[in-house]
Subunit: 349 residues, 3 copies
């Protein structure tokens, strides 16, 4: 069933792209295709993760989980659509912190009166998110000073990108090597005996490669439609980047996190939502700066005030809600309401 | 005693108003009258609350406790004095979070070395206050973008007002129905056997209606004096709105919260101060937007940068102090000092 | 050894100054001298503190520990270099909160898996830092309003300076008199039997006076070189003030805090780093305002946006990391990384 839909949609969106079906059809078909392709990528990653062990698996899961976003963004960078890249990074961060986390907490909270997760992990996650906000806010504030030239801004962007990648690597060392016991979830330490992977190790790795390639193709086809689409519907680049692309690109995380929350594994759901945001901010964004450097046209790390405000706002409300390691339906509804406010504000632009 | 003063002052301020005693006399008399009228309203509400049960009573208390502010603000909206409305909402929020909470914590702390209250309630309160800050900051940031027209700003204001009212209703459901046990104060669960209401149920309801009507009248007379008063003393609308009106309008809460804190019921005092701020931000402000819509001249939700800064500052210091569920005199003094800094800064404008 | 180097460098930097060796040599010699002078001042203070008892000692330690910064800053105020004063205050605050605290936590964390300190102290420290940020942010926001004249800004600055000094005095009363037991570190309550002071009480007091005088001289010589130094190397006043002066002036605290952290006394290290920042913000800065008033040319308390952003950023990340009373190497590395980002951004100006 799943595989049939996957292949049909993949082929169809390829045909739509090369035969020029028209912007709207191409967008709809490739958006549908990316949902399945991202789902396939997610399943393949999980399966590989199963063989690689829990910790290394978590890392693979996180990295390949954002592969779709990264690949979409590289195509945007190549076409010089820096504003849309930043909008889609913004959208990924707020989408994960507000919509994915919010829905997980809300729906999990409807079923369970109170859900708990590791407080220490929550505390480290929020410190890391604050680092990310700082790294994005500092250049925006300094660039507004009269002394700062465009050249300075690019140099600073590259330096910050380097520091963020170092921070991310140190975080992996910290959370997977030196302090992995401290950050473990109580419930997660009990192994899920019942869950067997659907595929053999060899098949899993093959599927992971195939899924990544498919994601790359569909992403390019999807991005190709956006320019004329925004014109057609009078939508701003910002809204498309921050909400449409972000929701489509994160579809796999959305469903996974919500399902985990409803099985009372709120810790794992938080990990997906917050961990994915962190990876976008600390890894994907810096990598894109370096990628743009390779393409010979450096993208700076200066986000617009409304993007920064949205990210900061998302981080503060998520931090406030997650820091006690307990969640309930009302806290989830608060996150979703902030997402709706931001969505509405971006839509009106 | 109380009733004599109430009636004398009420009648006197009516005479002063209709016989045009002169701005200064009218202001002094109606300001004195409103203290008694607000106190009467508070007592009537408490008495009704006693018969209605603790939870529903709490809701009635909160709602009628802000009735005076709401009524004053409606008259200001009707006269199109939007700037003064926003200043008085700002003043109510910071007055409750800094002055009322600060004095309660300070004076309670002089008597008791450490006072404690429910940590979970504190945590939810601060998440809600952050939602309120976000809801006020987002429009202010988006409106400063070139793309945003006045029309957009009004549409966004109405949308946000709607979301805030939903958030407030969900909060009532959460705190009074689904999770009322989680948020209960330990000491509050023991009933105060000694306290009997002064009035019968029937009298209480009658008095509640009478007190609300009296508040409406005196409020209108008070507001009528403000315009010429600001001219006379060279005070800014902002200072009058944010400090004079807010202190007068919150007089009842002030005294109630301080008295509770000195009886070591700091949880109840926090509830009044923080709960009242929340109601202003999540209920009174949005209702005023819809009221202005009915009057045919939509007020937007865009506050000035200094109002937003004041509210944000008050929320952050209050959150930082209240989040551990423990208070002492020094924390109270910090809150009061921030209030003095803000008061001085507004006075100089 | 230490005394020989101290005296040689002190004399040498005096000669360099009066014989006009040239800016660069004068700077290097006096910078080297100030490291030893500051170290001498630190030792003398500690020794006096030993005789005066732990609490009073802590106060003396904190006060004389910032004496070098205060004295340098008074000379800068006298010469009217207000921008450099503010830059050096900014640098002291962020240097203590990010570099000193960061290195202590990082190096301590490499040796011990987790280090703990008094949570209540952490909570009060962060509330105080938020007061400091508020006191600096409010004037900057109000001054940007059209209604605010330079005169208003100075009046507000003096009022805020007064309030901050009151806050600091109340903090001393709170932490040393009314609540000293609540804030005590668990380990600190066990006396260090092994540590005997090197000097007698009389010698200690004499050395304290001598060290303060020496610091005053070397500071003046150092400050004298800065003007032409900034020109020579094309460094901005901001960078020199916020990073060069701050690192030199805080050398004593740096080494003390790191050494304590590596002895697993992270509470004492946090006390030095955070306590020193607090004293800069709540005591040194306000005193400088009053000093400038005496010199007849009032310095206002209005910091530049990038200085405010740096301070706010440092406070938020430090608060986020310190608030749970536990530290590890990764948290230390985050603080240092934020310091590097800020240093790089200031360097490019």
């Amino acid at each position: 069933m799943f595989f049939t839909a996957l292949i049909v949609l993949f082929v169809l969106s390829g045909i739509a792209h090369y035969a020029h079906f028209g912007t709207l059809y191409e967008f709809i078909i490739s958006a549908a295709a990316i949902l399945f392709v991202a789902g396939f990528l997610g399943k393949a990653t999980e399966s590989v993760a199963h063989y690689a062990g829990q910790r290394l698996g978590g890392f693979l899961n996180a990295t390949f989980g954002n592969a779709a976003e990264l690949i979409i963004a590289i195509f945007l960078v190549k076409e010089g659509l820096f504003d849309m890249v930043k909008a889609s990074l913004t959208g990924s961060i707020i989408g994960n912190l507000l919509l994915v986390l919010g829905l997980s907490v809300f729906l999990g909270g409807l079923k369970f009166k109170e859900q708990r997760f590791n407080v220490q992990l929550a505390s480290h996650n929020s410190s890391l998110m604050i680092l990310a906000v700082i790294a994005l806010v500092i250049p925006a504030i300094f660039i507004s000073t009269e002394h700062y030239s465009v050249e300075h801004s690019k140099t600073l962007s590259i330096a910050i990108a380097g520091i963020l990648i170092v921070a991310y690597i140190l975080w992996l060392v910290f959370s997977m090597i030196t302090h992995k016991d401290v950050l473990a979830d109580v419930e997660e330490s009990t192994p899920d005996k019942g869950e067997h992977p659907a595929w053999s190790m060899r098949t899993s790795i093959l599927f992971l490669v195939v899924a990544t390639v498919m994601t790359a193709f569909v992403s390019e086809w999807l991005v190709g439609t956006l320019d004329s689409l925004t014109d057609k519907f009078g939508l701003s680049e910002l809204f498309v980047g921050a909400f449409v692309i972000a929701i489509v690109g994160n579809a796999a995380e959305h469903s996974a996190a919500v399902m985990l929350a409803m099985k009372n594994k709120i810790g794992a759901a938080v990990e997906i939502a917050v961990g994915s945001s962190l990876q976008i901010a600390l890894f994907v964004a810096p990598v894109l700066i370096f990628v743009s450097l390779l393409f010979g046209n450096t993208m700076d790390i200066v986000f617009t005030p409304i993007e920064l405000a949205s990210i900061a706002v998302a981080v503060f409300i998520a931090k406030s809600i997650a820091q006690d390691g307990r969640t309930n339906w009302y806290e989830g509804s608060l996150l979703v309401m902030v997402y709706i406010i931001l969505g509405f504000a971006f839509y009106l632009i």
